[in-house]
């Protein structure tokens, strides 16, 4: 049917377009397989070493308010796996300030008849975080293996929690990119919410003071995507008194956070003034 301009074979839907961009990005990264393998192994070892620090701390002091190293391992694994997924998807937002706003090449994206979010997601599907992902998964499985009360329902809640966590971290990256419309250059302070979020998410919520607890519950819903789902999976009663089923629902907060950030992004794009090129 050569005279049908909008036949499905000629126009890619959003999913097809994304798949094609992602495929191109993966091929490009595997052009240097040696570099890729070394970087992935480096990523795996680095993140695993950071777990050795927490392990040493708990090894010396024993369990804290019912949290032993096994349960903390589950928490640590969960936050790392979620962050690795967001890191893989959100590279375009991470480099947005330097590569799109400062250079003015965001103008070109605006000319394309597609969502800017989709085009930026397709900037790169980064493979390097696979090191963090695998070590997080490894620590998570080990933690669940050691914990006494894990039930089969954990298998349903864990992917849901990882998805919620990835959505939340992706929301942070989108928010960071939206800020670039004002600051032009990327703001590294936002790393406090990404890497700093991972750092805070790997400890039980009860270890922190009240201001930090409130911040990572109500401002950045870190507790909703990591701490409460982990409590649910481990069948561990909440020392702060919330019922245990909260953990099965709370990862939705990660998606709500992502929604707010997408809204902020669209407002920011609407007011975009090019820096010229």
């Amino acid at each position: 049917m050569p005279d049908m301009p909008h036949s499905p074979s000629r126009t890619l839907g959003p999913v097809g377009l994304y798949r094609r961009m992602a495929g191109a990005s993966i091929v490009a990264q595997l052009r240097y397989p040696g570099t890729f393998i070394i970087q992935a192994i480096g990523n795996f070892v680095t993140t695993l070493l950071s777990f050795f620090g927490i392990w040493s701390l708990f090894h010396r002091f024993g369990s804290i308010a019912g949290w032993d190293i096994g349960t903390v391992a589950a928490l640590y694994g969960l936050v790392n796996v979620a962050f690795a997924v967001a890191e893989t998807l959100g590279r375009g937002f991470e480099v947005f300030g330097g590569e799109y706003v400062r250079t003015g090449s965001f103008d070109r994206l605006l000319l394309r008849p597609r969502s800017t979010l989709l085009l930026l997601l397709g900037h790169e599907l980064r493979l390097r975080p696979i090191g963090r992902f695998l070590q997080g998964l490894f620590v998570l499985v080990a933690g669940l293996w050691l914990a006494p009360h894990v039930q089969w329902s954990a298998l349903l809640v864990l992917p849901w929690a990882v998805a919620g966590g990835a959505a939340m971290f992706l929301g942070v990256l989108i928010g960071q990119a939206a800020l670039c419309f004002i600051t032009v250059e990327g703001l590294e302070v936002v790393n406090v919410l990404t890497y700093g979020g991972v750092e805070a998410g790997q400890y039980p919520l009860t270890m922190f003071g009240r201001w930090l607890r409130r911040f990572i519950t109500f401002v950045l819903p870190l507790a909703a995507v990591c701490y409460y789902p982990a409590l649910f999976c481990l069948h561990h009663p909440d020392p702060l008194g919330l019922p245990i089923w909260i953990g099965a629902l709370s990862p939705a907060a990660g998606f709500a956070f992502l929604g707010v950030m997408v809204f902020a992004w669209q407002r920011a794009v609407a007011g975009y003034v090019s820096s010229g090129s």
Binding site: G53, S56, L57, H59, R60, I64, E188, V192, M207, F208
Partner: protein
């Protein structure tokens, strides 16, 4: 032998480090966040297990963390950025042509880069975590003063040695960069090693007892861990002399090995680009 070229190299990199004022403020916010998270975690584990005899008291562990955070940019995380660029573009060949001792030339630049980054951040964070925290009523979380006047002076000597030692390790990353023609390898190896072995991740005295002697005698301990122990007045096996001795030993050993490696590298260096 004139010192002037080395002082010029030092002065240039020192100024580059001081240029990025917004980066200093951003770094301060990040260091305070990581400091706060770590401090609360330590406070919680110490309070949950009051009868555990830890090698550091809670206050000492907090002070250790603050100093460690403030000296983060003093760690040898990777090669000198200028050398990474030079290796990639091939302009490293100009360094070979200079009528100076290349080791000292690169070393003075590396040292200045570390100090130019670390000194403003350290002073700023020390003010915030020390006197300012006291004033706003967070005295229990603040940076404790040094154990005594003598330990303060010895700690200053030790931190100077530590900075020099860090620059010597950076020299190792620089040579690695010149060999592999890419700075990425030095960061991939250097950052995890430095963060773990210097005590940035967890104070070295808090690791399990069986591994502590090894952690003390490896070279990265000389950068920040030994100066902080002297500052806190916590016993180092064999006393302060062992601490300073270890630093001097590693400085001498790494300089010797580094110079040999550099000579061998320069002799067979292949430069890319034109």
């Amino acid at each position: 032998m004139s010192l002037r070229p080395y002082l010029t190299a030092f002065g240039l990199q020192w100024k580059i480090g001081l240029r990025y004022r917004i980066a200093v403020v951003a770094g301060l916010v990040a260091q305070m966040w990581f400091g706060a998270v770590t401090l609360m975690a330590y406070a919680s584990v110490y309070h949950a297990a009051p009868d555990v005899q830890a090698p550091l008291s809670l206050r000492q562990a907090m002070t250790y963390t603050w100093i460690q955070q403030s000296l983060f940019t003093l760690l040898p995380l990777g090669c000198l950025p200028a050398i990474g660029d030079a290796a990639r573009t091939g302009s490293i060949v100009y360094d070979l042509l200079r009528p100076v001792d290349m080791w000292n030339w690169w070393l003075s630049a590396s040292l200045a880069r570390l100090l130019g980054n670390a000194v403003p951040r350290a002073v700023l964070l020390a003010c915030v975590a020390g006197p300012l925290a006291m004033i706003v009523g967070l005295g229990a979380w603040s940076l404790a003063p040094p154990a005594s006047l003598i330990s303060a002076i010895l700690a200053l000597v030790s931190i100077a040695l530590g900075a020099l030692l860090s620059a010597t390790i950076v020299m190792g990353w620089n040579i690695l960069t010149a060999r592999t023609l890419s700075p990425l390898g030095s960061y991939a190896v250097g950052t995890p090693l430095a963060v773990l072995l210097s005590g940035m991740l967890l104070p070295l005295p808090l690791y399990p007892d069986w591994i502590r002697p090894f952690l003390l005698v490896q070279p990265f301990a000389g950068i920040t861990d030994i100066p902080i122990r002297i500052y806190l007045g916590t016993p180092i096996p064999g006393g302060v002399a062992t601490g300073l001795g270890l630093q001097i030993f590693w400085l001498a050993a790494l300089t010797l090995l580094g110079r040999l490696w550099m000579r061998q590298t320069v002799n067979r260096l292949e430069v890319q680009g034109a």
